[in-house]
């Protein structure tokens, strides 16, 4: 069962592939990477899986009869219900591992030099994923997705200047079949972009990996391959449990109804993975401020390597760790507030949003500088 890359049948005929494979046989990796280091691999697997199931959905999807075509997939296409469950639960899984990966990066302060670029790619991954996820949610043609698109398209089209021109180019007009037709294409293109970002993330993580003392390293094959497969098995188990016992986890009941242009659905209808962002955007009155808030929320994440004042050698303090956990609860709270119909929800969303920016702009510099001493 041994594999000698140098004289394998393939490598003599396609040396480039052999060269790529050879890196997986070099004993240049630290031997003690934790299982959580496999999270980007799981993100890549989930992205590939979503691309595959999405390709099947795209065969039957009809943007001019979006809701009906989804019903057709669910009811008439062979295993169509299963493919839809694959895609929906796959989305839950990719967001789950991405949020977990970002949280772990925050907790370990992996964003500090030389990890800034890896961190920026991670934020980019989240941004691309959220846009792709939102487009997928809109494409279902459900009542909640329709009104989300209606509001977003009107907000984009009502802006002047360059943002308005970009919005017009992106949406091509207000909500409707023609809009969904182009959003379907953007959804697919963004999926490709997502795969590219994941690959860049992988490459940049390898580039900054600490060098291993000669003779102490292990090769990717079979050590980390086995570890990745073990992580994948756990991932697959969670996926299967969710797919078959909670296929509609965290999705909107409103989206089970067809889009109705004359009836605004009551209550929130945002899937769980978009809910924190929706909660934050809902705080700000008017579309202009919402968009500024969305950009600001991403920018503070990008700026994190420079907001952390502890320097390269600074240790990870307990207080910073505590506040990172609080931030996680804050983001979860934002998500709850977005889909809650209680009267206190807008106030809570405001408090949680304020805390989010307070965490990055005030707490992070102060606490890290304090604990670095």
């Amino acid at each position: 069962m041994t594999t000698h890359v140098k004289d394998s049948w393939m490598s003599t005929r396609l040396p480039c592939l052999g060269g790529i494979c050879a890196t997986y046989f070099q004993k240049n990796r630290a031997a003690n990477a934790p299982y959580f280091a496999a999270l980007p691999f799981l993100i890549a697997m989930a992205a590939a899986f979503l691309t595959l199931s999405g390709a099947v959905l795209a065969v039957y999807y009809n943007p001019w009869h979006a809701f009906d075509s989804v019903q057709f997939i669910d009811r008439n296409v062979n295993n169509g219900w299963l493919i839809r469950t694959y895609h929906a639960t796959g989305t839950t899984m990719i967001f789950g591992v991405t949020y977990l990966y970002l949280f772990r990066s925050l907790l370990r302060r992996a964003y500090r030099a030389p990890g800034e670029f890896v961190w920026m790619l991670s934020v980019k991954l989240l941004a691309v994923l959220m846009l792709t996820g939102w487009l997928g949610y809109v494409l279902t043609g459900g009542a909640a997705g329709y009104w989300s698109l209606f509001n977003a398209a009107n907000a984009a089209l009502s802006m002047g200047g360059l943002p308005g021109a970009v919005g017009l180019w992106f949406f091509g007009g207000p909500a409707g079949g023609d809009t969904l037709a182009r959003l379907e294409v953007f959804h697919a293109l963004l999926a490709v972009a997502l795969l590219l970002v994941v690959w860049l993330l992988h490459a940049s993580r390898r580039a900054i990996a600490a060098p291993v003392a000669s003779g102490k390293g292990v090769a990717f094959y079979p050590y980390y391959l086995a570890q990745y497969f073990a992580a994948l098995a756990v991932f697959a188990l969670v996926f299967v449990v969710l797919a078959f016992y909670a296929p509609h986890l965290g999705t909107s009941h409103m989206n089970q109804l067809p889009a109705e242009s004359l009836a605004v659905p009551l209550g929130g209808g945002v899937p769980w993975y978009l809910a924190p962002a929706a909660g934050m955007l809902g705080v700000f009155p008017g579309s202009g401020l919402s968009i500024v808030a969305a950009i600001a929320a991403i920018v503070v994440l990008y700026a994190l390597p420079w907001l952390d004042r502890s320097g390269r050698a600074g240790r990870c303090g307990k207080l910073y760790g505590f506040f990172t956990w609080v931030l996680a609860l804050d983001v979860i709270g934002l998500g709850y507030a977005a889909n809650s119909s209680s009267g206190a929800a807008p106030t809570l969303a405001g408090v949680f949003t304020a805390w989010y920016f307070f965490h990055f702009l005030v707490l992070t510099p102060v606490v890290t500088a304090m604990e670095a001493e």
Partner: protein, 183 residues
């Protein structure tokens, strides 16, 4: 496996080989189980498959008449031959025909009294006349084209131009003496 296990220096090596094989086989089964629905989803759904395989009742066709159904966007004409039709066409010298074809090339061997053709003139594309005994049928008691005057015999062979090809035969098979499945 027995000799290879014996030739290994330790039992650990053969056990590892076995575990590797087991893990790879389990992984292949798991991946196949996940992927099969994705592949099967691209097969046509039951309704499209049924439409693509139209079943026609031929028990109500009288001898010497034809019935035309729509299938795959084409008029499919099914004619029940009379004994006279068979007698007149079974032993025609095929070399003399514009598009030579024998009796057995035109009918199903098990049900030689049914002719199934695409009812479109092969010259100027045009629906044919001649399904009912009272329709114009030309000199060969088959079909005629009202557009260019081409004449066909009851087997759908062209007998008089300008058309140069026999009527096309669609994919079909007999489910029983009363039912034909197209496609």
């Amino acid at each position: 496996m027995a000799e290879s296990a014996a030739s290994h220096a330790t039992h650990g090596a053969s056990r590892r080989d076995f575990l590797t094989l087991l893990a790879a086989a389990g992984g292949a089964v798991a991946a196949g189980t996940i992927l099969w629905p994705v592949i099967d989803a691209l097969n046509p759904d039951a309704e499209s498959a049924a439409a693509a395989h139209l079943i026609v009742d031929v028990s109500d066709i009288a001898e010497n008449t034809a019935k035309t159904v729509q299938w795959a966007g084409l008029p499919i004409t099914i004619r029940k031959l009379s004994a006279a039709d068979i007698a007149a066409n079974q032993f025609v010298v095929t070399q003399d025909l514009p598009d030579p074809a024998g009796f057995n090339d035109r009918v199903n061997a098990g049900y030689p009294n049914f002719v199934v053709v695409v009812g479109l003139n092969t010259g100027t594309p045009c629906a044919l006349e001649g399904d009912a005994p009272g329709d114009p049928r030309g000199d060969y008691n088959g079909w005629v084209s009202p557009c260019d005057g081409s004449e066909y015999d009851p087997l759908g062979r062209v007998r008089r131009g300008p058309a140069a090809k026999n009527l096309a035969i669609p994919r079909y098979n007999f489910l029983n003496a009363a039912q034909i499945k197209l496609g």
